[in-house]
């Protein structure tokens, strides 16, 4: 093709998509304090360079074959520089997430820590629950030991993008043998307000804009984007439950690009949940990287309800013997929603078990992707891995692409996978109706039953109840 891969006009458009972020990065760097440690600047710089090199993933990349990111790349999303008035109350957060009374809570609005909406935990006998911005100032050495060392920004453009813009997010440190009784709730709310920054290239940053006045962000600002960063460290023998919630306050488009790193020491026991309830027009591209050491137990349940385009990458490395890992997922899709779940479990050491159950319910013209990869290292004998993905299609126009990938290089292992795609069982519907249950109720009962297997595995009652309610509302829409 004459050497040139793309016509020059097209090339320019592609360049611009990247350039927009490069310029944004330059401006962002200028706003950072001089006192910031040099290592964090270096990580960001490495990351933006990787991003510039990688570009946005296209359909030719195997991992992105069924998920087109064009709607994200062609929109001028703008980083929000500071916390702005948004009318969010503590009660509203509970209403939009779950009843989190009795939880530690860290709340973020448009990517910035919001003390008013958080319970003030700080640090207590070694336990740390605070914003990443605070942690970067208060305990830079501890953060430096872990931040960006696990999530592979070198290979993944969206992780690189997040890493290039690391400024705030959540930091949780559970010291050796400590048990955090109260669940830790991390809430990331998007106000949906246009960015207050008038244009790319402007160095103005309106920190803490007061209640809406004449200078309130005008509608000619760009749609906002956030890059929440979460770092969770569970030392040897520690125990905790952590919930990430993502909510959108307005129906306008915005882009959430979170990255979570979880590092668990020997015999730690951590349950992780993610509730994705973004607004219908939102884009959500997230990655979770967990590194689990010997005899530790890790579970992560991902519930995905909102968003126009949603991508969840969950990568777990079982990096010591005797690890037990459970990944569960429930995703709902309707209208033109697109939900993509990619999971990767690496059995790096012998005698580990992993259990994975993802279930999707797709209606309207929605589409789903499930890609579950399990990699068993040559040395990881006695691996016990089970993966299941079931999808229920409620309409003729809903689509799912599901592909399990087992790469097994050890010979003494037990690995199973199964995927089913189906519709509601008409025989069961008739059975229920013949007993007096109305057709619609019969359908709902069966959909509920389908989801129930995953719900049963969610041990945090308020989260489970919330989803049960959500599903009911979703079905009654």
């Amino acid at each position: 093709m004459n050497g040139a891969e793309y016509p020059s006009v097209l090339k320019e458009i592609i360049m611009n998509e990247i350039d927009r972020y490069l310029i944004s990065y330059e401006n962002f760097q200028k706003t950072r304090s001089e006192k910031e440690p040099s290592w964090i600047r270096r990580i960001r710089k490495d990351a933006i360079e990787r991003f510039a090199h990688l570009g946005f993933p296209g359909p030719r990349q195997e991992d992105w074959r069924f998920t087109r990111v064009k709607p994200i790349t062609r929109t001028s999303f703008e980083r929000v520089d500071g916390l702005r008035s948004n009318g969010l109350s503590s009660g509203e957060i509970a209403r939009r997430t779950f009843n989190d009374a009795g939880c530690h809570r860290l709340a973020f609005v448009d990517g910035h820590y919001c003390a008013e909406l958080s319970s003030q935990v700080g640090s207590n006998s070694g336990l740390v629950i605070e914003s990443l911005a605070d942690a970067l100032q208060r305990r830079a050495a501890l953060v430096e030991n872990h931040l960006a060392r696990y999530a592979r920004f070198e290979e993944q453009a969206f992780i690189a993008l997040n890493t290039a813009f690391i400024s705030d997010g959540a930091f949780v440190y559970v010291p050796e043998d400590a048990t955090v009784v109260e669940p830790i709730h991390l809430v990331f709310a998007s106000s949906g307000l246009p960015s207050s920054t008038p244009a790319i290239g402007s160095a103005t940053s309106n920190l803490h804009v007061d209640k809406a006045g004449p200078d309130a962000p005008s509608t000619n600002g760009n749609a906002p984007r956030t890059h929440p960063r979460i770092l969770i460290i569970g030392e040897k023998g520690s125990r905790a439950t952590i919930i990430e919630s993502y909510i959108g306050l307005k129906q306008d488009a915005y882009f959430t690009n979170p990255v979570t790193e979880i590092i668990l020491g020997e015999n730690a026991d951590v349950s992780h949940y993610k509730l994705q309830r973004e607004s219908d027009a939102a884009y959500h591209v997230a990655a979770l990287q967990a590194n689990i050491e010997k005899d530790a137990r890790f579970s992560s349940a991902s519930i995905s309800i909102g968003g126009a385009l949603v991508r969840n990458d969950v990568n777990v490395i079982l990096d010591g013997e005797g690890v037990s890992c459970a990944l569960d997922g429930l995703y709902l899709g309707d209208n033109r929603q697109h939900v993509d779940n990619h999971t990767f479990i690496k059995h790096a050491k012998p005698n580990c078990e992993s259990f994975e159950l993802y279930k999707g319910i797709l209606d309207g013209r929605s589409s789903g992707v499930f890609n579950g990869r399990i990699y068993v290292d040559p040395g990881a004998q006695k691996t016990d891995a089970k993966q299941t993905n079931n999808c229920l299609l409620l309409s003729d126009d809903a689509r799912i692409n599901t592909s399990p990938q087992l790469e097994i290089f050890a010979d003494d292992v037990k690995c199973t996978h199964g995927a089913t795609v189906g519709q509601l069982d008409e025989a069961a519907i008739f059975y229920l109706r013949s007993r007096g249950i109305e057709e619609n109720d019969a359908r709902h009962m069966l959909i509920y039953a389908f989801a129930n297997e995953v719900l049963d595995r969610i041990h945090l009652a308020p989260v489970r109840d919330r989803f049960a309610t959500d599903l009911f509302e979703w079905l009654s829409k």
């Binding site: 025989a427 069961a428 008739f430 059975y431 007993r435 007096g436 249950i437 069966l446 039953a449």
Partner: protein, 253 residues
């Protein structure tokens, strides 16, 4: 109670019922017997409202109403119940939840108050004793992993709880050993009464030793070829369906 006139039904272009006439009055027990493929189960399913079948001619009146106009759930509200030949397994739905939902849906449709969990459980336990059912079955998913006998007992339990006016038992005896058959039959007999009609669809005479019918009808080739009393079933057992089929064919000539 139930009047069927000249009923013709087909599925996927295949004629199955070819002119059924039948009248069932309150308090009566009718047995419908016939060889495989004669249309027995189709008749039961048409009355229950299964939409696989196209009704080409004929009518079904239930308490004076056009039954064919009603949805399956409306038929249940009106007091019709069919015990399935192959009860459907429903993973993820607990038996107790299912049955309580069904009972309350029917009560609601009839303008009656819904039962709360406690009252429902009392009722269900009462009926389970009648059928020698283990209470643990109520906490399991509907029919999932049930043995053949447990499934059939579960059908009769539903019948006992939902208290229909017209019950159709579609091959309830199939796959049951003699002990289970007796238990199921006892359960059905306990539900006999002057206001309830029962239609027993079966291939074998055996069940009728325990549920003694008032009337026996022989269905062959989608038509009732012979009707009679209890003795007809015994006659069938001696002669087999072949004799009846032959006689039916000859009588048509």
């Amino acid at each position: 109670m139930l009047i069927i006139r000249n009923l013709h039904a087909e599925a996927e272009g295949k004629k199955i019922l070819q002119g059924i006439d039948l009248e069932v009055k309150p308090g009566e027990v009718h047995a419908i017997m016939g060889p495989n493929g004669s249309g027995k189960s189709t008749l039961a399913q048409v009355v229950a409202g299964h939409d696989t079948y196209d009704i080409t001619t004929g009518e079904v009146l239930y308490e004076g109403k056009d039954l064919l106009e009603l949805s399956p759930e409306e038929r249940a509200w009106e007091g019709i119940f069919m015990a399935f030949q192959y009860p459907v397994e429903i993973p993820g739905v607990r038996n107790t939840y299912f049955l309580k939902s069904a009972l309350n849906a029917i009560r609601k449709a009839r303008g009656e108050s819904e039962l709360d969990a406690m009252d429902f459980l009392d009722l269900a336990k009462d009926k389970m004793r009648l059928l020698n059912m283990e209470e643990s079955l109520m906490e399991r998913a509907v029919n999932e992993g049930f043995s053949g006998g447990e499934k059939k007992r579960n059908e009769i339990l539903q019948m006992a709880v939902l208290d229909p006016k017209l019950a159709i038992l579609d091959e309830t005896d199939s796959g049951l050993d003699i002990d289970a058959l007796k238990i199921v039959a006892n359960g059905v007999n306990a539900l006999r009464g002057p206001n309830r009609a029962i239609v027993v669809v079966t291939h074998y005479q055996r069940l009728l030793n325990y549920i003694v019918p008032d009337f026996v009808h022989v269905l062959v080739g989608g038509r009732i070829v012979k009707s009679g009393g209890r003795e007809l079933a015994l006659e069938l057992e001696k002669q087999g369906y072949a004799g009846i089929e032959k006689a039916a064919a000859e009588s048509r000539l």
